[in-house]
Each structure stands twice: as structure tokens, then as C-alpha cells.
Amino acid sequence: MQTAVSIKDLKVSYGPTVVLQNLNLDIRPREFLVLLGSSGCGKSTLLNAIAGLNDVSDGEIWIEGKNVTWAEPKDRGIGMVFQSYALYPRMTVRKNLAFGLRVAGLPSDEVNTRVARAADMLHLTPLLDRKPAELSGGQRQRVAIGRALVREVDVFLFDEPLSNLDAKLRNELRVEIKKLHQDLGNTMIYVTHDQVEAMTLADRIAIMKDGVIQQLAPPSEIYHRPANLFVAGFIGAPSMNFIEGRVIKTDAGFDFETGDTRFSLDGYHGAPVEGPATLGFRPEHLCLEGISGPELNGTVAVVEPMGADTVVWFDWHKQNFSLRLMGDSGFTPGAAIQVGIDLSKASLFGADGTAL
């Protein structure tokens, strides 16, 4: 298979601390891959290793068919955008964009053409003679993207590019980045801790924890078929509801038992195995009407109206669960509530946390 970026048995350590070990990852050409995880999971370390800004202890990094494990950052054919923008404060936007090309020794008309093209693409043309301090956060980040753009490389690396922006700008630039990817067709590797960015931008998401990729799959698969408990709990807001219990084999199939409640697992897509297990279901996969599967009879605790939808928190067997309803709900705290679990969309995790 043709790959744009290929990581083979990568190991990165800072002194005695091993951050990444035996990491393998293949990224397809023109793919938008998001590395998602909470801070300290190794996602930025991986990105820096691909960029050549971190030394690797072992393994290989291939970019566009070349082994670049020992290559200098500038020779790897990559452009990178940083969280803090990292614009050169004493240079104008034009000089910021041109710096890398000037260092590379490109003829000045080629430099000017490329800068003009990038500025045009990112709507920076009127700002070319300003200093970074005279720009807004969104404009600065566009300059940072432009600096990667002028290099005309095949692979773009983004290190939490939107984290320093306010919510509104973040949404706008997110759409711009997606559009940019559609127009350019470059390979993009994007690090973030924001699951909304990951879900909306990615062709595939790699969820990382403690330096290990937990699941590598398209967003909808990550959302609907999480590979393990960590992924299930990490993605989704409010997060997935969990019930702990055990799976029991019966003549007809499998039952799930928790406390004094027991129900059949008929309709579950996976292959249950007898033993301790956790049943997970998302807030929107509970229904109030047409209940066919297991049923929860609880008490409403808190109602959170969000406009487009409403999250109803209810207690069942001293546990807290969330239910997402479209539009407004008629519930008030203290009211009785009867909901059914849609088992076809639920997830079941075995004793070791992996999906069954």
C-alpha cells in the first residue's frame, strides 16, 4: 500500500522516561489524520518526531517513500503549524511567509509568487505589511498556516492550531482548514485534544493514551463502535453511560445481569462472552417510546436545555445516566422516567475493557 507517512516501531524517550514505544502508523496520501488524546498521551511527541524536532531512540519514519529518520526538519518535505502561532515577531507578514523560502535560496520572483498565492488563498493580502502584533489571533494563525503553505510540501503537520483561539474563531478556522484540505489534497496530520475538531476534520482518528494508539478508525466508527472503554468514555459529550455487570449464557443467547436486574442481549451486534462486562450506551441511544429492549425506570435529577437538544440526567439504581432528547423536554427534576436502551447501538466491553 502506498503511504504518505509511515511510522515503524517508533520509540521516543526523554532520558529514562519512555514516551512512545513500538508505535506503528501508516498514513495514506491525501488523508486527514487526527491524533487525539488528553495532554501527556504522547500525541505531540509523535508529531514532533515526524517533524524531526525530537530525536527518536529507535524505529523508522518514512515520508513520501523516503526514510527521513535522520533527516533535518527542513529536508523532510513537511510544513508545520504551531499552537502559539510561532510567528517571527520582528518581521512583517510578508517576511514571515518568505523567510523559509529565502533560507532555501529560492529566486526572489519565485518567492514573491508563492507568497502572493498563499496570501490570496488565506485572505492575507491586505495584511502583508503588518507585524504579527498588529494582527488578531485568527489572522495570526492564518499566517502560520500560510508559512506552511508556501513551502509547497506534501505533508502538513498541525499541533493544536486552534487551542489558543476563542470558540467562535475556532469554529470558523476549523471550517477553513477543512476547506483547505479539500482544495489542496495534501496529507495532513493534526494533533488536538478537542474531540469536536477530531470528529469534524478527520478522515481517520488515532486515539492515544499513554503513548499507545487505542483505536485508529474513521470518526463514525470511533463513535459508534469504540474499541475499548477508554475510547468509549473519551469520545462524546455527555460521555457514554456505563452499567457494570456480567454476561450470562442462556439457552436462547446471552443475558446481562446487574444487581437484581437481568435482561436479554438480543439485538446486540457483537459477540458477547460470559463473565464480568460493562454495558455502554450513548445518551441519544435511549428512547422514551417504542421500548423493545431493556428498560430503566429512574428519577429525573437535572435537566439541561441546550436549545437544539436537551440533556436529561436521571438516577437509576444509585447511578447517574444521561439522556439526550431533540428539542425541549417536559421533564422536571424529581419526575419518574422510563427509558429503553437501543441495544443495536450499544457497546459491550469485557473484563479487560475491550469491546465484545
Partner: protein, 297 residues
């Protein structure tokens, strides 16, 4: 009824003179006097004639302005047998200070840059040793340095004294720049590496233009330190290169006949004039640079 009910607070809070305010101003004024009174005495004394000085009214203004003491101090005062004033010392001080400042600030900036961004192997150890070196009183180094310089043929020469000043200045300047550069986001360094810039290009085109406030602070600290130095100049400069401070001492301590207080005062002011002027005209930069080094972002 409480007081707050009687008065309805509205608008700007009225300022009130409190005991604390009075104490604060009293302290500030006395501190200012502590430094200005000696200066005042020096200036008026330098403008008086010797008979006036003998009248022993040190705070009185001179009867008429008499600049002859300044002329003597500059060009005619005697240090031992030589009567050439401190003019020659002024030139020596300039010749010693300028190269010493430029070289030590430049090397310190390179050191600080390399230590905070490139993190060479053993860099922390080197930095630790440099700091330890800064803590050892430099009198300890005098004898070994004199012997070493004599062996190299640099003793009693301009180059020798400049090297000594650069060596003793490096720890502090390195510390200043290292602490300044660690406040610069590392991503800026990473971005310039991705752009293909190397050690020197990043230093000259990215980092140096960003560190103007720190350059000013380091240059001013080095300038005043080296200009005011006495011991190193006395030991290492040699007879022909004695800095102004040493020559001032020779003039003031020469006792042949009457002590010319007006000449001594004028010579002292002349010696202190350069650092004084520097602080006076670039104090704003100095404060800004100190703040830039201390506060992040």
C-alpha cells in the same frame, strides 16, 4: 444608624492623606536627599576657588562660577610626577570599555542562546560551572591570571585587560540572556528550524532582533561595571593603559602641598559622568529590559 447609611458612596473615591502616605513621602524625600546632597556638594565645591573652600561652608553656593578647577582636572592635574590630568585616563577607559562591552555582550548572548535552545550535551554542567565561577570572589583569580597572562605575553596590555573584563563579565551576561531566551516560546525556535535556518541564522535574524531590551540592559550593566572597575585595571592594564578610575585615585591621593579639593571634585565628577549620562538617557530602556527578563510574555 451606621455611618455607611449616612453617606451614600458615589463616583470616585475621595483621596485622603493618611499617616502611611506621609511616612512614604518622608522616606522618598530623605532617600532622594541622601543621594543628591553629596552630588550638590561636589558640584559647588568644584566651582569654588581654594580660599572659598577654606572658609569651610560646604553647602554655600560659589561667589562666582569658576571653571578653572575643571580645566586642571581634565588636562593639568598631577598624578605623581606627571601633570596631564585625567584626559589620558578617559581615552584609556573608552579603549578598554568599548571592546570589552561589545565582546562580552555578544558572547553572552550566543552562550545564552545556545544553552536555552540548542541544549548541547553537558550544557547544564557548563552553565553550573559558569555560575559557580561568578560566585567566587575574583580576587582569588588575580594571581593565577597574572602568571598566565605574563606567560602568554598579554600582561600589561590593552588586549589583556579586555580579555580579563570579557572573562569576568561572561557569567552574568550569559545568565541574563539564558533567562531571557527561556521565556521565548520554544515553538518559535522549532518554526525557524522547519524553515531551514541554522544556528547562526536563527540567532542573527530571529533571536537577536527580539532581544533588543536585553541587549541594552546587558550593555549598560557591563559598561558601568567595566568603566567603574579599579582593581582589574590597576593590575592588568599596565602603565600606559591605566583607566580613568585608577588615574583619578592617583590624582586624589597625590599629596604635594595643599589638597586641591575643587580639582579632586571636578575630576571625580568627570570620571562618573559617562555612566551617569548613560543611566540618565536610557533608564527607560533599562527598566523595560529588566522587566522583559523577569516577566513571561
Amino acid at each position: 444608624m451606621t455611618r455607611s447609611a449616612e453617606i451614600n458612596p458615589r463616583g470616585a473615591k475621595p483621596t485622603r492623606i493618611t499617616a502611611g502616605r506621609i511616612g512614604l513621602y518622608a522616606f522618598l524625600i530623605s532617600a532622594a536627599l541622601f543621594f543628591t546632597v553629596p552630588l550638590y556638594v561636589m558640584i559647588v565645591t568644584s566651582l569654588k576657588t581654594m580660599p572659598e573652600i577654606r572658609a569651610a561652608r560646604i553647602f554655600a553656593l560659589p561667589d562666582h562660577l569658576d571653571f578653572s578647577a575643571w580645566k586642571v582636572a581634565w588636562a593639568g592635574a598631577c598624578a605623581g610626577a606627571e601633570c596631564a590630568g585625567i584626559r589620558a585616563g578617559f581615552l584609556n577607559s573608552v579603549l578598554i570599555t568599548l571592546p570589552s562591552v561589545v565582546i562580552s555582550v555578544l558572547f553572552g548572548a550566543i552562550n545564552g542562546y545556545a544553552l536555552s535552545f540548542w541544549r548541547p550535551r553537558g550544557g547544564n554542567l557548563m552553565f553550573g560551572l559558569l555560575m559557580a565561577g561568578a560566585l567566587v570572589p575574583y580576587q582569588v583569580f588575580l594571581y593565577p591570571l597574572v602568571r598566565g597572562f605574563a606567560a602568554l605575553g598579554l600582561y600589561n596590555s590593552l588586549i589583556g585587560i579586555v580579555i580579563v573584563h570579557v572573562l569576568f563579565g561572561l557569567p552574568l551576561v550569559t545568565l541574563l540572556f539564558r533567562n531571557y531566551f527561556v521565556t521565548i516560546p520554544e515553538e518559535l525556535f522549532k518554526a525557524s528550524r522547519l524553515d531551514g535556518a541554522g544556528f547562526w541564522r536563527i540567532f542573527l535574524e530571529i533571536m537577536l532582533p527580539m532581544s533588543v531590551p536585553m541587549l541594552v540592559v546587558a550593555a549598560m550593566m557591563q559598561f558601568t561595571g567595566i568603566w567603574n572597575d579599579f582593581l582589574l585595571g590597576l593590575v592588568f592594564a599596565g602603565r600606559d593603559n591605566l583607566p580613568m578610575t585608577v588615574q583619578l585615585n592617583n590624582i586624589v591621593n597625590t599629596t604635594t602641598g595643599e589638597r586641591l579639593y575643587n580639582v579632586n571634585m571636578a575630576a571625580t565628577i568627570l570620571t562618573a559622568l559617562v555612566p551617569l549620562a548613560i543611566y540618565f538617557f536610557s533608564g527607560r530602556w533599562f527598566v523595560r529590559g529588566i522587566a522583559a527578563g523577569a516577566v513571561k510574555g
